[in-house]
Symmetry: C2
Amino acid sequence: MSRVVVQKYGGSSVSSTEKIKKIANKLIERKKIDSKIVVVVSAMGDTTDDYISMAKDITKYPDKRELDVLMSTGEMISASLLSMSLNSLGCEAVSYNAYQLNIQTSGLHGKSYINDIDVSKITESLDSGKIVIVTGFQGLNDEGDITTLGRGGSDTSAVALAVKLNGSCEIYTDVDGIYFTDPRKYKEAKKLEEIEYEEMLELASLGAQVMHSRSVELAQKYNVELYVGLSCSDIKGTYIRGIEDMKLEEKVITGLATCDNDAAITIVDIEMSNVAKLFEKIAIDGISVDMISQTAPVGSKVNVSFTIPKEELDQCEKIAKLFVDKEQIVIDEDITKFSIVGLGMKNTSGVASKVFKILSENKIEVKLITTSEIRITCAISSSCKQIAIQSIAKEFNI
Amino acid sequence: MSRVVVQKYGGSSVSSTEKIKKIANKLIERKKIDSKIVVVVSAMGDTTDDYISMAKDITKYPDKRELDVLMSTGEMISASLLSMSLNSLGCEAVSYNAYQLNIQTSGLHGKSYINDIDVSKITESLDSGKIVIVTGFQGLNDEGDITTLGRGGSDTSAVALAVKLNGSCEIYTDVDGIYFTDPRKYKEAKKLEEIEYEEMLELASLGAQVMHSRSVELAQKYNVELYVGLSCSDIKGTYIRGIEDMKLEEKVITGLATCDNDAAITIVDIEMSNVAKLFEKIAIDGISVDMISQTAPVGSKVNVSFTIPKEELDQCEKIAKLFVDKEQIVIDEDITKFSIVGLGMKNTSGVASKVFKILSENKIEVKLITTSEIRITCAISSSCKQIAIQSIAKEFNI
């Protein structure tokens, strides 16, 4: 019995009937090698944005149940067109939607989670030689209402199908794989042949927008191999897989991410008892705080630093003034968050000290530091970003 | 318990978010009088045509199952937007699709028939005070595949719901009712206050495109009163109902229709034995024949006349030449089919002779005649159309 291949095509890959026809031709070629193919499609190009603007024409706060009904039609359209295209080329195909597969979800409208999928119709169609097209991004809740999984949810649909069908999963998009660091920011960035789930999740949380985090978590949980690549292209992409399946010798560092959107705030001599209250007030206002660091107390007072998105600086300053004087608030907008990710850090001691040594040798001042088991993040001056990337890449031989 | 009102809005009535908002406001007003309202919507404006052209971009002959999937999304979009609009105005509403109501159909894709609808979700929602929006035009077959009912099928969806909910049915469109004759052709045409089902069916078969014939048949079968009117307007429309419910004294003639699309063919001296063969060949070629008349035989030969659509004249002439010489085929392209419809003809003798007398007094030559129990159709010269309409309308006092 041949293995099932689940492929997912994003909105930009199915943005026109021409592109859909191209995918159909690629699928027919692929079917000669892999006889059982399931294809998950997103909505065509800007459809989702068009729908949102229609809903906003109606009302500023559209009913969430009805918004999900509206949204779900985008994938039905692209699924039917791809199936038509395959059928017209003599390759039998059939499209299925959330109702036909009973894609059960729970959670809120617009951000539901998949609980289960009934794949009996899919296996039946695959066994009869058909390519199966599935509408991504959507499911049904216990009331039988249509739900959607949130932006990028089609990735999760594809992984869930691969789990249920015990298959592999290929995500086709408009980038040709996962890079060591963002190739738009650092031209010499190398593409990775493979990356481990945890590493990918750290990179995703640092702003690498290639993959939907939930889909990577799901793949990790069920050990489904993911492939990320350019649609309708022979360029090799990147595999996301478990450490036990990695082919290559383990690298200490796999990825490197930078983020320029944050500013650092330092509050000098704040009463220790007020620190928790400060962060509580910040949380209530929905400001996302990162990189908190606190110095040891002097008497009952401490210094505390953290980063927040620049656009929330004013709001955050107002809150801080409830606890300290204006002079005690120091703001630094000239920071770049510089993150190094690698599973190898777990087993290799001294990675952090090596990183700090390299930065110091290159006269790069480290303003703040936070770490996880497989990540080191430093706040550095924005002007040092390029030299930091280059020197780290050179020293770690990547 | 208050009676359920089923309203249907056609594509031109929901062609923009502005128009949808207008309908929502009208519905809120109406709900103060009728507490239980179900609304059936068509796809917005040109959506259906846009979908067909997308499908044609993919392939000349799109897979019919997938075409139905594509088509069905149009009604989901308009249903969700109308529900959003009502909810935003503080009026609770909910949209349901073919899956949620298990709208069972049989027959071919693109022209399916409704077998049953599970209205439990609808009655539950109505009982809790919600306006219910239903996607028209669509259902599911035994395989759980989406089917559509053919152009104008939303009318049938609305009548079927009215049957199941024991309610009345209002069809809102871009014309303000049913006219004695087409007001675009005859300016003085009067709007009818009411018309009987059979009369409406005859008019529909003669080209009055206001109502989907199947919906009128269904309404007749279950004696559901239909109302046809302009959407979002207070202009009085037309009721379509059974003879037992008609308020007014019965009129002999209710409607008058003309059609200029046909030509008449007369075949002179054809062998009687060939007549059946001729019509068989014509039927195989899919040419729709109307108004057949045959003279009494002279020896073994007869003259036979019939009308066909002008665009099929060449094809039909070729077939005729298989049986007779060119000289025996007489073609008359200058004809208008002039039809008079009225239930009253059943009980009033001499209507036909009165009609012929009026036409003759006005020097209008009648080229061909066919009749049914409640209809008389004459082929006359196109130039006599206006005078024929005027004289008949005057003599029958309409």
